[in-house]
């Protein structure tokens, strides 16, 4: 790594991600401090662990920045095999929690392979599309990319983890459009999807997914059941008002009316305790992060770099929009962590890896901006 490359290190991007991760640690502390045993040692506190994960993430980020990002493109086939391998492994070795096999225990830590696979697939797809720049206008290329995508998607669907499947589809869609696919071809793909949607509702969706959809429409039907969280999240955020109830003072979160509060519903804890002010700060940090990410994509020196950046930005954007959208009841309940903020080691580490790749791309930019 040459010193002059540091001129292009995107400080705003780094700062916004660091602030989001910092706010995340604080919120994890608030969301968990009323439910942990009083004599828990500090190093076992969820917030401490999250802090550790952020440090590890930063370390990985630095590590990732030392290679030229194009190295990743060269080993893309191997990364694809690795992605498939860990996703197969989790189906057989994974720990089942709430009826889903999504985690593998490795010693003291738990790894969520689908989080890793997300970043790997961004590289794989970027490599695939950038290598076929001239064939992008062929429908065949699109179909092959879909076959490539199908492997991880099917494996993740089997866990099951439907929301991550959606993340993959969103990443693919953004990348394929940026890579130059024709909109008519995508329209052609959308056609059977539209026809198949009602079928999919009954065949592809698991019962729990259908229940979530119907509870989005009428959450009060069984206030303690599926609709419960959506309802309580809405109440939590709404009751926060403009300035919030104060850090670690939220009645909804501290008295556990709000569930899974340190992961999927951490935005509700934020909204309740820090109010509109806190929510607006976090939303703005995401806006900065995403726009800076897009700038990286725009200045990337090659198609591969641009597509990787687009993939990373899409991944963050989609998860951010779905997570907050669910919290504020714009969208039906879907388990989606808030990038960088929600509790979860794999997610935060892989996000810093992805941001490291973004910095890598930025630092090796060609200096010409679209």
């Amino acid at each position: 790594m040459e010193v002059r490359q540091w001129r292009h290190f995107d400080f705003m991007l780094f700062l916004s991600s660091l602030l989001l991760a910092g706010i995340g640690i604080a919120l994890v502390y608030s969301a968990s401090h009323s439910s942990i045993l009083p004599d828990t040692p500090v190093r076992d506190l969820p917030a401490t662990r999250q802090f550790g994960f952020v440090l590890v993430g930063l370390l990985f980020m630095a590590l990732v920045m030392t290679f030229d990002y194009r190295t990743f493109g060269q080993i893309a086939p191997r990364l694809y095999v690795l992605a498939l391998a860990i996703l197969v492994a989790v189906l057989f070795l994974g720990t089942s929690i709430y009826g889903a096999r999504r985690w593998i225990d490795i010693g003291p830590i738990t790894v969520e392979p689908s989080e890793v696979a997300k970043v790997l697939m961004i590289i794989v797809l970027a490599k695939f599309f950038s290598d076929r720049k001239e064939q992008m206008r062929r429908f065949r290329t699109i179909l092959i990319s879909l076959v490539l995508l199908a492997g991880p998607i099917v494996l993740i669907y089997l866990e099951p983890h439907f929301s991550t499947v959606l993340v993959f589809v969103a990443i693919w869609l953004a990348m394929v459009v940026m890579a130059g696919a024709r909109l008519t071809h995508l329209g052609l793909l959308a056609l059977p999807a539209a026809v198949g949607a009602p079928l999919a509702y009954f065949v592809v969706l698991h019962d729990y997914m259908r229940e979530r959809l119907s509870s989005f429409i009428n959450p009060a039907a069984d206030p303690l059941g599926v609709g419960y969280n959506a309802l309580q999240a809405e109440i939590s955020i709404g009751s926060g008002g403009f300035f919030g109830k104060g850090f670690a003072q939220g009645t909804q979160s501290q008295l556990h009316f709000l569930r899974v509060q340190s992961s999927d519903f951490i935005f509700s804890v934020l909204g309740e305790e820090l109010g509109f002010v806190g929510a607006a700060v976090v939303l703005t940090l995401f806006l900065v992060l995403l726009l800076r990410g897009l700038r990286v994509a725009a200045v990337a020196r090659d198609d591969f770099g641009r597509l990787v950046a687009v993939g990373v930005v899409t991944m963050v954007l989609f998860q951010f929009f779905v997570n907050v959208g669910v919290n504020v009841r714009l969208l039906p309940a879907t388990g989606m962590p808030l990038p960088l903020v929600s509790q979860g080691g794999s997610s935060v580490v892989m996000l810093f890896v992805a941001l490291g790749i973004l910095q890598n791309i930025a630092m090796r930019q060609r200096g010409l901006e679209f």
Partner: protein, 630 residues
């Protein structure tokens, strides 16, 4: 086919196009990002700033529960201080639907059902019923009167039974059972209609309230003031801390005017004396105060079956009983009074100057009158015997019907009272209206007159109707409590009060908060002198006339018998069945007790009178008399 490049595309220069296209794509992407940001920010603004207050209330509603603290219900004593009702603890296992998720419900229902020994379906049905009613925070009672050991087991296992609570509620226990049930009544779970009416007076969905007897009449005093406590709960419904509490005020206690020993003897003698009659009633009152000393209605019931969970099988048996044990004949049963009504006819005649004590009439055993409209029809009105020449005293003592036909309707030159005046005096003595006794379910009876007959039967009032009424027959209907009120007015020479079974309302420390004596006192428009005359006639009735069976040693009793014909002639005996009546008071010179005895269809006064005698004898000659009167 997809590889073919369309013709319109060929014309474009792709290099320039691609750069522009990428630029456009980035612009679109930025727009998407900003749009996502703005839509989320807008929704957050809407929830937190526009609707913030609404959600703050919802969050408070989540966190804060107001749970009622029921006040200790008042105790009831008889006038001698005997406890007539006690509060005993009763365990109720209940479920708060708001704290039990639907997913967990089948499991919890199964576990709870096993512990309580009831089918899980039934548990589920009870909870689901409440879920449809939407009152999710009020506990649904699953089983009441759970044995203590089962209640403790459930309590120990609450951690695996989300939403389940064990409520400890006081339950009413009536040690005297059926002896006092018509007076005390019972409490029961609030009904849907009662809840609608009372929810603003601090009643809760699971509250109990007095349904009958003094439990109902004095509900407000007995209930006290329930407190409330506002508690902070977590999502499992566990109480974390009390935020605010409003203290309970224990219910006030009642001291009845009932004399438990007299009540017991009255029940016993009435039961023994009524022979094979199906129902009977008796009551005694202190004519100086209007306090009811005893009141019995047979058949009776054990009011403990309504405590806690209603014993449905026993209740069903009560409801099926054709002689209606839940019915208080003393205040709710209406019957012709028979000859005891002559007290009214006699008093009216004296007061109106129709008769004086010396007025002599000869009873030949009957009188006959022609129809007012068709003289060819002749009606005959019989006396019970040819009693010969009678003055006023003898007429009362021997209960001559002919004498009172004269006084009521007149005969030939003798000018009678006429129906209008007779009915007026009947009402003056409290007939045809409620006495106002402090027990629920009292009825008015009926004092017929010309207007009533015209309206109801469409027939004109005849002199014969006046005759019948003069001796307490015809359409006249009275309740035993009305007859008691009438006779006590003779005993105290003209004062009518609302009879009362409750003497005092006292607070928890025993201080009287409300004395109920002399409530609704009224003087009737018959002079004490005239009532002296009626009383003297009644004294003679017991001394040597129709009521000698009520005579007791050492105390002079005054009384009047009644034998009211009721229904068709019984083919087995050749007689019409008679309701038997006795009303009286003692001691004659300074009355301290008035009494009424009523026995359904039987041998009439021959049955009722000795029962009254025994009761009075007990009252005056018992071993350890409790404090009587003031």
């Amino acid at each position: 086919m997809f590889n073919r490049v369309p013709r319109w595309r060929v014309k474009k220069r792709r290099n320039i196009d691609e750069e522009t296209l990428l630029r456009v794509k980035f612009i679109v992407f930025r727009v998407v990002v900003v749009a996502a940001f703005l839509s989320l920010l807008g929704q957050v603004w809407h929830l937190q700033v526009v609707e913030g207050t609404t959600y703050q209330k919802k969050a408070e509603y989540n966190r804060l529960r107001v749970s009622p603290l029921s006040a200790k219900r008042g105790i009831i004593y008889d006038r001698g201080g005997n406890i007539l009702v006690r509060n005993v603890p009763s365990f109720t296992v209940a479920v708060v639907p708001a704290d039990l998720s639907k997913e967990q419900q089948p499991q919890v229902a199964a576990r709870l059902g096993k512990l309580l020994g009831m089918p899980a379906d039934k548990v589920t049905a009870l909870i689901d019923e409440r879920r449809t009613q939407q009152f999710l925070f009020a506990p649904v009672p699953i089983q009441a009167e759970v044995p203590p050991e089962v209640a403790f087991t459930v309590r120990e296992r609450l951690s695996e039974l989300p939403g389940v609570t064990v409520l400890v509620e006081p339950m009413r226990y009536y040690p005297e059972g059926e002896l006092m049930s018509h007076i005390l009544g019972y409490v029961g779970r609030i009904s849907a209609e009662e809840y609608d009416r009372l929810k603003d007076s601090g009643y809760d969905l699971n509250d109990e309230l007095g349904k009958m007897g003094v439990e109902a009449t004095y509900e407000k005093a007995l209930r006290g003031k329930p407190g409330r406590e506002q508690v902070e709960v977590n999502a499992n419904g566990l109480k974390l801390q009390t935020i605010k509490a409003w203290d309970t005020t224990p219910g006030q206690n009642l001291v009845l005017s009932i004399d438990l020993d007299l009540q017991r003897k009255m029940m016993q003698y009435l039961k023994e004396g009524m022979e094979d009659s199906h129902f009977a009633a008796a009551a005694a009152m202190d004519p100086r105060t209007g306090e009811v000393l005893a009141t019995v209605s047979i058949p009776s019931y054990d009011n403990n079956i309504f405590s806690g969970s209603v014993k449905q099988d026993k209740l069903a048996a009560l409801l099926k009983d054709p002689w209606r044990p839940l019915f208080n004949y003393t205040i709710s049963g209406t019957f012709p009074s028979g000859s005891i009504f002559k007290i009214v006819t006699g008093s009216a005649a004296l007061q109106e100057g129709v008769a004086v004590p010396g007025t002599e009439i000869v009873s030949t055993g009957q009188i006959s009158i022609a129809n007012q409209y068709d003289p060819s029809i002749v009606y005959t009105f019989k006396d019970w015997a040819a009693l010969g020449r009678l003055d006023f005293y003898k007429a009362i003592a021997q209960s001559s019907d002919v004498y009172f036909y004269y006084l009521a309707g007149g005969f030939r030159d003798f000018k009678g009272l006429g129906i209008e005046r007779l009915a007026r005096y009947a009402r003056e003595f409290g007939l045809g209206g409620k006495t106002g006794i402090d027990l629920p379910g009292e009825v008015e009876g009926l004092v017929p007159d010309a207007i009533w007959k015209d309206r109801v039967k469409g027939e004109p009032w005849m002199t014969g109707d006046t005759y019948n009424m003069g001796i307490g027959q015809g359409d006249l209907l009275v309740t035993p409590i009305q007859m008691l009120n009438m006779v006590q007015a003779v005993a105290n020479r003209g004062v009518i009060r609302k009879p009362q079974v409750v003497r005092q309302v006292v607070d928890a420390e025993g201080r009287a908060v409300q004395s109920l004596q002399d409530r609704g006192m009224r003087k009737i428009k018959v002079s004490p002198g005239n009532l002296d005359i009626v009383a003297e006639g009644m004294r003679q009735a017991v001394e040597w006339g129709t009521a000698t069976l009520a005579k007791i040693p050492g105390v002079t009793v005054a009384g009047k018998t009644g034998t009211a014909e009721w229904g068709p002639i019984d083919p087995a005996t050749g007689y019409r069945p008679y309701h038997g009546w006795f009303v009286g008071f003692a001691p004659f010179d300074n009355p301290e007790i008035a009494i009424v005895v009523f026995v359904e269809k039987g041998k009439g006064a021959l049955v009722a009178t000795p029962i009254a005698g025994k009761i009075l004898d007990y009252y005056f000659h018992r071993e350890q008399p409790v404090a009587k009167g003031q």
